[in-house]
C-alpha cells in the first residue's frame, strides 16, 4: 500500500455557472491516515467541496493541491489511482451487472489494450466481498434496491484500490444495519489498510462515532473543526442546524437527540376507526413478490410510521395504497371504500402522496407547484376558484413557504424544496396523506421541521398521515402507530411504546441496540450499541458498560455479505 497522498484545498471559492458562491475562500487540509467527516446543513457546500477536491469540478478561485501540485495538472487517471470518489445521485447504467460495474473501478489501473488480469479479478472480488455484494454479482444494477445499489457503487470505488477515499453521503438510502456496515468498513479500511477517508455525512451520530476528525460547514465556510468529542455539543448543533438537542453520553458512545419545538403537543383525538385497511396484499415487480400477503391497517386521524430495513417493501406498500401500483392479490380500502372505486380525480381527493425523490421540474415556481395540488378539484374550463386560492394560501402558510412562493423550485435548498412538495400535497386537501421517505435528503434540522409540520397538521386538522421513515428514533417519537416490515411481511404493528424493543430491533433490522424511554416524550429511544470509537478508545468501559452487558455481545465485526 502506497502512502496516502496529500490533499488540500487552498482558498477555494466554488460556484456553479458563475452564480452565488457555494463555497467561499475555504482552506481544508485532509488529515492523512485519518477518517474525516464533513457535516453541515443542506446546501452548506459540503458535497460541492468534495467534488472540487476530487477533480470533478474546478473551483472559481483558489486551488486544490494533490501532493503539492494543482489537481487539474494531474491526469484523471493519475487522480483516480490516488483518490476513490463515491458521488451522490449517480446516473443509473442500464443492463450492467454488479460485477461489470465493480470492474469499471479497475479502469485507472489498466492500459487500453490489456485484458483484465489476475490482479484485477482479485481486487474486484475483494471489493465485492468488502461491500457485501458478492451474492449480487450477476444481477443487473437497475434491478437492485436503493441500498443494494449504493453498496454496488461503493464496491466499484473500493476496486479502484486507492490510498484515499472520498465518500459523498455513503449511507444515503441505507438502513441502520447496512449503513453501519459501510461505516465499519470505512473504519476497517482506515485501521487495517491505512487508507485516508473523507466522508460527507448526514447523520451526526455516525459522524461523531466513526470519525477521528470532524469538519463542520455552514454557508460555504468551515465554522468548526476538531476531534469529535471536543467539538460536538448542543450549542454547535443549535448554531449550525438550528435545532435544539440533548446529548447523551454514555459508555456506548455519543447520541444526539433532537428536540422539536412542540414535542408536548399530542393529538389525543382520532384512532377510533381505521382510515386505511389493506387485506392480504401481494405486490411484485415482475415475478418476484415484494409484498407477501400483507394485511395492515392505519388508524384514522393519527400519525403512522412504516419502518423496516432496505428492500423490505415499505415504499411498495405506500405506493400500493396510493394506487400507484396494482396488487396481484388482496385489496385496500380507504375509509371503507375500495381504492380502485372511482376515477383518478376522485381518488386524488381522498388520498394524497408525497413521493420519494420526485422529479424536479426545471422552471416551475413554488406557488405554481402548490397550485398543482388543486388539480383534482379543477377542470380545464374551471381553472381557479376562491376555494383553490384559499387552500393554496393556507398550504403555503402552514409550511412556511410563503416567502419564496415566487421563486423557482430549482433554486431552493433541499429542505425548502421538500416543504414546497409538502405544501402541494396539503393543498390537495385529502383526509389521508401518504409520505414516502419525506426526510431522506434532509439534514437533522430540516427533518425535525418537516415532521413537526406533519404532526401539527395532524393535530390541527385531523390529517391521517402514513409516513415511511428511515430513522427509527424519529419514527418512535412522532408516530402514534407503527408498522415494522421485513422481507415483504409485517413483523410488528402497534403503538411504538408497545412494539419497539431490543429484540424487535435485532430481529427486524439486524442490529443490537439498547432501547430506553425518552423522559421528555415518553417514547422509546433507540441507542445503537458497539460504536467503533467508544470501543477503540475505552475497551475497559465496553466490557463494564451496563448497556452492552445487558444486551450480550456487541456486533463488532463486519457481517458476511447479505443478499
Amino acid at each position: 500500500m502506497t502512502t496516502s497522498p496529500q490533499l488540500r484545498a487552498s482558498n477555494v471559492t466554488i460556484s456553479y455557472n458563475g452564480a452565488l458562491d457555494i463555497v467561499s475562500d475555504l482552506d481544508f487540509d485532509v488529515p492523512q491516515g485519518q477518517i474525516t467527516s464533513i457535516i453541515g446543513p443542506n446546501g452548506c457546500g459540503k458535497s460541492t467541496l468534495l467534488r472540487a477536491m476530487s477533480r470533478l469540478m474546478k473551483p472559481r478561485l483558489g486551488s486544490v493541491l494533490l501532493d503539492g501540485q494543482a489537481i487539474h495538472q494531474h491526469s484523471t487517471r493519475e487522480v483516480a489511482k490516488m483518490l476513490g470518489m463515491l458521488s451522490q445521485q449517480l446516473e443509473l447504467p442500464e443492463m450492467v451487472t454488479v460485477e461489470d460495474l465493480v470492474r469499471r473501478g479497475r479502469y485507472p489501473h489498466r492500459s487500453m489494450w490489456q485484458p483484465p488480469g489476475h490482479d484485477d479479478q482479485v481486487a474486484v472480488d475483494r471489493a465485492m466481498l468488502l461491500a457485501g455484494v458478492t451474492d449480487l454479482r450477476s444481477r443487473s444494477v437497475d434491478e437492485l434496491s436503493g441500498g443494494q445499489r449504493q453498496r454496488a457503487w461503493i464496491a466499484m470505488v473500493l476496486a479502484q484500490d486507492t490510498p484515499m477515499l472520498l465518500l459523498d453521503e455513503p449511507t444515503t438510502y441505507l438502513d441502520i444495519a447496512h449503513s453501519r456496515e459501510v461505516l465499519e468498513l470505512a473504519k476497517r479500511l482506515n485501521r487495517e489498510d491505512e487508507k485516508t477517508v473523507v466522508m460527507v455525512l448526514h447523520d451526526l451520530n455516525d459522524a461523531v462515532r466513526y470519525s477521528d476528525h470532524i469538519v463542520v460547514m455552514k454557508d460555504g465556510e468551515i465554522v468548526e473543526r476538531g476531534g469529535p468529542q471536543e467539538i460536538a455539543n448542543a450549542e454547535l448543533i443549535r448554531n449550525v442546524f438550528g435545532v435544539e438537542c440533548d446529548i447523551v453520553k454514555d459508555a456506548n458512545g455519543w447520541f444526539c437527540i433532537p428536540r422539536s419545538k412542540n414535542a408536548s403537543i399530542r393529538n389525543t383525538t382520532g384512532g377510533e376507526s381505521d382510515a386505511v385497511a389493506s387485506e392480504s396484499l401481494t405486490v411484485g415487480y415482475g415475478r418476484v413478490p415484494v409484498l407477501k400477503s400483507v394485511s395492515v391497517t392505519f388508524p384514522d386521524g393519527k400519525l403512522s410510521a412504516v419502518v423496516g430495513p432496505n428492500a423490505c417493501g415499505k415504499s411498495t406498500l405506500v405506493k400500493t395504497i396510493a394506487r400507484l401500483l396494482k396488487s396481484s392479490e388482496g385489496s385496500t380500502s380507504v375509509h371503507g371504500r375500495p381504492i380502485f372505486e372511482g376515477s383518478h380525480r376522485d381518488f386524488a381527493q381522498r388520498v394524497g402522496l408525497l413521493s420519494q425523490g420526485a422529479a424536479i421540474p426545471t422552471d416551475i415556481r413554488v406557488q405554481e407547484l402548490v397550485m398543482s395540488g388543486r388539480f383534482p378539484y379543477q377542470r380545464w374550463y374551471r381553472q381557479w376558484s376562491n376555494e383553490d386560492q384559499g387552500e393554496v394560501d393556507k398550504a403555503l402558510q402552514s409550511t412556511h413557504t410563503e416567502e419564496f412562493r415566487w421563486r423557482s423550485v430549482a433554486t431552493l435548498s433541499g429542505g425548502q424544496r421538500q416543504r414546497a412538495w409538502l405544501a402541494m400535497a396539503l393543498a390537495q386537501q385529502t383526509p389521508v396523506l401518504m409520505l414516502d421517505e419525506p426526510t431522506t435528503f434532509l439534514d437533522i434540522g430540516h427533518q425535525i421541521e418537516l415532521l413537526d409540520l406533519v404532526s401539527e397538521m395532524n393535530c390541527r386538522s385531523g390529517l391521517t398521515a402514513v409516513m415511511v421513515l428511515h430513522d427509527l428514533s424519529l419514527a418512535c417519537r412522532y408516530a402514534d402507530y407503527m408498522v415494522a416490515m421485513k422481507d415483504g411481511r409485517v413483523a410488528a404493528a402497534g403503538a411504538p411504546e408497545q412494539i419497539v424493543s431490543e429484540s424487535m430491533v435485532r430481529e427486524v433490522f439486524g442490529v443490537d441496540c439498547s432501547v430506553v424511554t425518552d423522559e421528555q416524550t415518553g417514547r422509546p429511544l433507540i441507542l445503537p450499541l458497539g460504536t467503533a470509537n467508544s470501543l477503540q478508545a475505552r475497551p475497559a468501559d465496553d466490557a463494564s458498560s451496563t448497556g452492552a452487558a445487558r444486551n450480550g455481545s456487541v456486533n463488532r465485526t463486519l457481517k458476511e455479505p447479505v443478499g
Binding site: 376515477s343 383518478h344 422529479a359 416551475i364 398543482s372 374550463y381 374551471r382 381557479w384 386560492q389
Partner: protein, 353 residues
C-alpha cells in the same frame, strides 16, 4: 371579452389574473397574453409583407384593401386567387406543426422530440412517394400522406407500450422506424427510373407553392377542432411536467392523457403533411423558442407557441420565395435554419450534464 369578465386578482403576484364568467374560470398570465398579442401583430405584418412581394408588387394599402374587400380588380385577383390562400395556409401550417411539437415534447417530457424525428414525416413520405411512382391518381396523395403519418404514429405508440409509455423508449423506437422508412424511400427512388422519380422527389421537401382555398378550408376545419382540444389538454400537461408519480397522485389518468396528447399531436402534423408535404424542424424549434421567451408550457404559452410557429414558417416562406432568384420549397429553408439550431440544442443539453 375582458369587458364582460370579472377580473379577480389571483395574488399579490405579478401578472397572473383569473377570468371568470359563471362556472367558467381561466388563469391568465398577463405577460403571456401580451406576448401573444405582440406576436399576432408581427404575424399580421409578416403576412402583409408576404402578400406584397412577388413579380407583381403591391403596396400595403392595396393588400389591406383587397383583403377587406375594397380593392381594385387587379390586386384582388393576385391576392384572392394566389397570395391570400397561400399566406393563410403557411400560417396555419406553421401553427399546426409548432403545436404538434409542443404536444410531443410535453407528452414524453423530452425537449428533443418532434413528429419528424420519430418517423411521422417519413411515413407520409413513403406512402406518397410510393403512390406517385406507381402512377396512381394524384388527387389521393394528401389522403395517403395523412394515412401514412397516422399509421406510423400508431405503430410507434404500440411498439413503445409496455404497460406504460416511457419517453426514452418512444423516441428510440421512433428513430428506428424513421431510419427504416427513410431506407424504404431511398429504395423506391433507386428502383424506379429517373424520369418518374422527379415529381416524387419534389414531394419529399415540403412546400406551400401549390396551396389553394381547398387547403385553407381543410386546415381551418381541422384546426377548429384540434386547437380547442389541445388547449384543454394543456391544463393536464402542466401537471404532467411534474413527473408521472406526482401527476398521478394529484389525480391525472396519465396514460390516457398521454395517449390523447399523442393522438392530437400526430393528427395535427398529419394534416400539415397532407397539405404541404414534410416540412422539417418547425415542430422541433418553435416550442423551444416559445418556452425560452415565455416559460414553461401552459395553455397561454401553447397559443404563443402556435403563433411563433406560424411566424417562423411565414418568414421562412418569404425567404424561400424571394431571397434567391429561384423560389425554393420552404422545407429547404426551415431545415437550413432548424438543423443548425437542433445541433446547438444538442450541444447545450450535453454541456449542462
Amino acid at each position: 371579452m375582458t369587458a364582460s369578465a370579472r377580473q379577480v386578482e389571483l395574488m399579490s403576484a405579478p401578472r397572473l389574473r383569473v377570468l371568470r364568467f359563471g362556472g367558467v374560470a381561466f388563469v391568465i398570465n398577463l405577460r403571456t397574453l401580451s406576448l401573444i398579442l405582440v406576436t399576432f401583430v408581427l404575424l399580421v405584418a409578416a403576412a402583409c409583407l408576404a402578400m406584397m412581394l412577388g413579380s407583381f408588387r403591391l403596396t400595403v394599402g392595396e393588400v389591406v384593401g383587397s383583403v377587406l374587400g375594397t380593392g381594385n380588380g387587379e390586386a384582388d385577383f393576385v391576392i384572392w386567387r394566389l397570395r391570400f390562400p397561400r399566406t393563410l395556409t403557411v400560417a396555419m401550417l406553421g401553427g399546426a406543426l409548432a403545436m404538434s411539437g409542443a404536444i410531443f415534447q410535453g407528452a414524453v417530457r423530452n425537449p428533443l422530440v418532434s413528429p419528424d424525428i420519430i418517423g411521422i414525416n417519413a411515413g407520409a413520405t413513403l406512402a406518397a412517394v410510393f403512390w406517385i411512382l406507381t402512377d396512381m391518381p394524384q388527387g389521393a396523395i394528401p389522403l395517403l400522406a395523412f394515412v401514412g403519418a397516422m399509421s406510423v404514429a400508431s405503430l410507434v405508440y404500440l411498439l413503445s407500450w409496455k404497460g406504460h409509455i416511457s419517453g426514452g423508449r418512444l423516441i428510440l423506437i421512433g428513430i428506428g422506424i424513421n431510419a427504416l422508412l427513410g431506407a424504404g424511400v431511398t429504395f423506391l427512388f433507386v428502383r424506379y427510373p429517373v424520369q418518374q422519380t422527379r415529381s416524387a422527389l419534389a414531394w419529399t421537401v415540403g412546400t406551400a407553392n401549390n396551396s389553394d382555398w381547398a387547403d385553407v378550408r381543410l386546415l381551418a376545419y381541422s384546426l377548429a377542432i384540434l386547437i380547442p382540444l389541445a388547449v384543454a389538454l394543456m391544463w393536464s400537461l402542466r401537471v404532467m411536467q411534474l413527473g408521472d408519480t406526482t401527476a398521478r397522485s394529484v389525480g391525472l389518468p396519465i396514460e390516457r392523457t398521454r395517449l390523447l396528447l399523442i393522438a392530437v399531436g400526430s393528427t395535427l402534423s398529419a394534416f400539415a403533411i397532407a397539405v404541404a408535404g414534410p416540412i422539417g424542424f418547425v415542430a422541433l424549434t418553435a416550442p423551444h423558442i416559445a418556452r425560452m421567451i415565455a416559460g414553461p408550457m401552459t395553455s397561454g404559452v401553447f397559443i404563443f407557441t402556435l403563433l411563433v410557429g406560424a411566424l417562423f414558417l411565414m418568414l421562412s416562406d418569404i425567404v424561400a420565395q424571394h431571397a434567391l432568384p429561384v423560389s425554393l420549397p420552404v422545407g429547404v429553408v426551415t431545415a437550413a435554419i432548424g438543423a443548425p439550431y437542433f445541433l446547438f440544442l444538442l450541444y447545450r443539453v450535453n454541456a449542462r450534464v
